[in-house]
């Protein structure tokens, strides 16, 4: 595929702009760009084909089963995208007088209230742009709380070793020491070990529940009591809310702060890496620290409140990824209370159906009933035949199927994590199961061939080491 920069420059531009209708003005030399601007000038036809080609070499949910564990790649309803493209949402300026954007504020307020109900939280901010951004915001709430209480010795955030990398990274960004909590053989946090880590330095614990191996932390109430008794607060990484929404609420489990990944649980598309949206909900005790502005409703009309003495401030400009939030609200309004519960149930049924259909062949890291995802470990196969989880995944590509998440969580060796989501049909799962079983045979029969997989994709396995060693990060003229 040609790069945009590799097309011949036709020395003319698409006729987008009208001719200038005002007089010109002087542009002083001292402010003028000196170096030439080397951007391609190509035709609309070439542009259209360029991106058609790029799109055809991109794998979307529309191309099939996409069981990326921890990513909840469910179907993205088209009506939501359409609602987010209404001019009344796209063509409004964030600094318009609030009287002219009452609908936008109503949208945000309604979404906030809905998410509070779903999570069992008292207040919520839609400002964070993604999950990790939400984590950062949420941990800052905890920090602000302790600071306001003068509790400044609390310098540690406890994070299970199974946690997503964003959790410890967030703790560090927020100026905390990330303390690793071990995980038991059953995949859950080691309660006994945790007890030893908790203490006066504990600012809080970040937990994903269901956790990153797809299991519900059975001891959650004990954990929550443990942390709270020690004066710490409980942070809920909501990336895995999907299987429990409508069934149990983080707020009711004892969590004080939660972030959600609307681009996972609430069906907003992932866009090849974003935009997402990572709202943060909290219990009353943390509300005063939420970012500004807050949306308030008074006498049936909405307003922004910027005047919050204890707010952590802002984590980005304006009010978050507004259009993504429009999609999430559309989804919630469509499903309603019953649909939300059913989605959760469906995700768990699908995951277990697939797990049970494969566990005679693949080693499951944890044999129990899972929630929305399960982890297979290829450790034994690696030892016996030298084949890796990567080889399995890459072989799958030759079947035009998107592989599961590889090598996550880190606490499972040679992990493949499968999250089917509720929007797959039984037929789709059966087809995937058949492929997984076939691949098992293929890989075990010819490990060398598998080590070179994929063979039928537009490109073969890439040299990642070379890429990092000798970084070429932009087109060189």
């Amino acid at each position: 595929m040609k790069l945009l920069f590799e097309y011949p420059d036709h020395g003319k531009t698409l006729s987008i702009l009208p001719e200038l209708d005002t007089p010109m003005a002087e542009i002083p030399d001292v402010i003028r760009r000196k170096s030439p601007l080397r951007l391609p000038n190509i035709s609309e036809n070439e542009l259209s084909r360029h991106f058609a080609e790029l799109e055809s070499q991109t794998f979307g949910v529309c191309d099939g089963f996409y069981p990326l564990g921890s990513c909840t790649m469910k179907y993205n309803p088209k009506i939501n995208d359409e609602m987010a493209s209404l001019k009344g949402f796209t063509d409004i300026h964030p600094l318009q007088p609030v009287s002219t954007v009452q609908g936008a504020l109503e949208m945000m307020y309604t979404l906030e209230r809905s998410l509070c109900e779903i999570t069992g939280m008292d207040d919520i901010t839609l400002q964070p742009a993604a999950g990790a951004h939400g984590e950062f915001t949420g941990i800052l709430l905890i920090k602000a709380y302790h600071e306001k209480n003068g509790d400044t010795d609390r310098t540690e955030i406890i994070v299970p070793v199974s946690a997503h990398g964003t959790n410890p990274a967030t703790a560090a960004m927020a100026g905390y020491k990330a303390v690793n909590a071990p995980v038991r053989d059953d995949g859950c946090v080691d309660l006994e070990a945790l007890k030893k880590l908790v203490g006066p330095k504990t600012a809080g614990l970040m937990l994903t529940n269901p956790n990153t191996v797809g299991l519900f932390e059975k001891d959650i109430l004990e954990i929550s009591k443990l942390i709270h008794d020690a004066g710490g607060l409980l942070y809920y990484d909501g990336a895995n809310l999907n299987p429990v929404m409508g069934i149990v609420r983080p707020g009711d489990m004892g969590f004080d702060v939660v972030h959600l990944n609307l681009h996972k649980t609430f069906s907003t598309p992932h866009g090849g890496g974003g935009p997402g949206s990572g709202p943060v909900g909290c219990k009353k005790l943390l509300s005063e620290f939420l970012p500004v502005p807050r949306i308030v409703k008074k006498d049936g009309s909405y307003d922004f409140d910027f005047d919050k003495e204890y707010s952590i401030g802002k984590v980005r400009s304006f009010y978050g990824n507004f259009l993504v939030n429009v999609k999430a609200l559309s989804y919630i309004l469509t499903l309603g209370a019953k649909g939300i519960r059913e989605a959760a149930e469906g995700s768990v049924i699908n995951a277990n159906y697939m797990r049970k259909s494969l566990d005679d062949l693949y080693d499951m890291a944890y044999p129990d009933i899972c929630m929305h995802e399960f982890v297979m470990t290829l450790e034994r196969q690696k030892k016996e035949k030298g084949v890796s989880a990567m080889d399995f995944a890459k072989t799958m590509l030759d079947y035009r199927m998107h592989p599961p998440t590889m090598y996550f969580p880190l606490c499972v060796k040679e992990a493949l994590m499968v999250e089917p989501t509720e929007t797959e049909s039984k037929q789709s799962l059966d087809e995937a199961i058949a492929v997984y079983r076939k691949i098992y045979e293929d890989v075990m029969a010819d490990p060398e061939y598998a080590a070179k997989a994929p063979h039928k994709t537009p490109i073969t396995r890439v040299d990642e080491v070379g890429a990092a060693r000798n970084p070429r990060l932009r087109f060189e003229f």
Binding site: L4, I31, A132, F216, G273, G320, H402
Partner: protein
């Protein structure tokens, strides 16, 4: 009630039977009974698509879409070519995840590589990341890049309030000290800057600044580099087709809000933050980066690279916690720049410049005084307040015009290619009448 679950009741029951279960509840036995929701959430009943369209459409209609927008202040009303929308609405681009499997993701990977190349070309920097959340968080992340050892961060008061706010939040979190460099006659007070240089890690300043002004950035960078501090510039990407690049001005890092590159105003988001740096800082850039490499047959290929900086490898030692970014918005920028080309982008920047300067003169004629008449500006400027700003804004709104942003010192106006001479005439007539 809406549902996106394909399976029929029978199919679901079959699956449960296969699992040896009688009821779906048995799958949830690991959850303590005491905290399970009894019954249903307190949410309205699900809506059909037709009903949803009414509800959401109703909210959209309650917002005023102004025919003429003279407000910028960080979000700009530019024309979005039709081809851009057509490209960005392609289903695979919209629904793909972050490209973890390069062999089936060359399309999106190459697009990001193109994005990085465009950002580098606009800013004249050596490397760009694959985007961050927005301009404000880009500024905050840039500051973090410079504060490995020194913890004092200088920030110009002339920057956008949201940039300043985000820098403060991020910096406070990490224990950095933020020192504000005051504004003097609309630009950063260079004396104050000089005085604060000791031990400073970096200085953040914007071009154009929040007053619309183009400051003397070259002067800052000499000072900064002498003092061993980094120069971070927050820049408007459209303006770079016309104005000296951050590189030409001596910056070490260039960041900014990519919204003007083909994104709607969207009530503030989603947009995209860009970050680019000179080569010595590349490995400090946060977030995703796509690199060029080869496949096992030597064919050119693109892949997420330099992951050793990232949270999923380095965890608490990562340069940032960022994971998802704003990839589709970055793609939008590529499509937009592809449609405009260097020629179109330059013409656009000129039109913004010319129209704003024409409008400034006309507004002066109409009786509004420029707040900083001597300062060079791009497409925004401040006039002193008229007799009654509220009344003026209302009169403009009556005519479908969103006036400039009322500020303490006056009104911040913005003029882009979307504003015709005729509309400027209309504006001035109203100013004459009401102002």
């Amino acid at each position: 009630m809406g549902s996106y679950i394909p399976n029929s009741k029978q199919e679901t029951e079959e699956m449960l039977r296969f699992l040896g279960l009688n009821h779906v509840d048995e799958l949830f036995e690991s959850i303590p009974e005491s905290v399970k929701i009894k019954g249903l959430l307190n949410l309205p009943e699900g809506k059909s698509e037709m009903e949803l369209r009414c509800v959401m459409g109703g909210m959209a209609e309650k917002n005023t879409v102004f025919k003429t927008v003279l407000r910028g202040a960080g979000v700009y009303n530019h024309y979005i070519p039709s081809i851009v929308k057509s490209i960005v609405s392609k289903e695979r681009f919209i629904t793909a995840y972050t490209p973890y499997q390069p062999e089936i993701s060359q399309g999106i990977l190459q697009a990001i590589f193109e994005y990085q190349s465009i950002i580098c070309e606009l800013t004249h920097m050596d490397a760009s990341n694959a985007s961050v959340y927005d301009g404000a968080s880009a500024a905050a992340e840039a500051v973090a890049m410079c504060t490995d050892r020194r913890k004092k961060v200088l920030v110009s008061e002339t920057a956008k309030p949201d940039s300043i706010a985000a820098i403060k939040t991020y910096s406070k979190a990490a224990g950095r000290q933020v020192v504000m460099i005051p504004s003097k006659n609309g630009v950063s007070d260079i004396d104050a800057l000089s005085e604060n240089l000791q031990d400073a890690a970096c200085f953040y300043v914007e071009m154009p600044n929040f007053n619309g002004i183009i400051e003397d950035y070259e002067a800052y960078s000499s000072l900064l580099h002498e003092a061993g501090a980094k120069h971070i510039m927050g820049v408007n990407p459209i303006s770079l087709a016309l104005l000296k690049t951050p590189d030409e001005l001596g910056a070490d890092i260039a960041v900014g809000e990519g919204q003007p590159l083909g994104m709607g105003m969207n009530f503030g988001g989603p947009h995209v933050g860009f970050m680019a740096a000179k080569s010595d800082m590349v490995r400090k850039l946060p977030g995703r980066i796509v690199g060029e490499t080869t496949d096992r047959n030597g064919k050119r290929a693109y892949v997420l690279t330099l992951q050793a900086r990232e949270q999923h490898i380095r965890r608490e030692k990562a340069s940032s916690n960022i994971c998802s970014n704003q990839a589709l918005c970055a793609l939008t920028a590529v499509a937009y720049v592809g449609a405009m080309g260097s020629l179109g982008l330059t013409e656009l920047a000129r039109q913004c410049y010319y129209k704003a300067h024409y409008a400034a003169r006309e507004l002066e004629k109409a009786g509004l005084e420029m707040l900083y008449p001597e300062k060079p500006f791009f497409h925004e400027f401040i006039t002193k307040a008229p007799r009654d700003t509220d009344k003026l804004m209302e009169a403009l709104a009556q005519e479908g015009i969103l006036g400039g942003l009322p500020m303490e010192e006056g009104i911040l106006w913005c003029f882009t290619e979307m504003v015709s001479k005729q509309e400027i005439g209309k504006l001035c007539a109203i100013v004459r009448k009401v102002g």
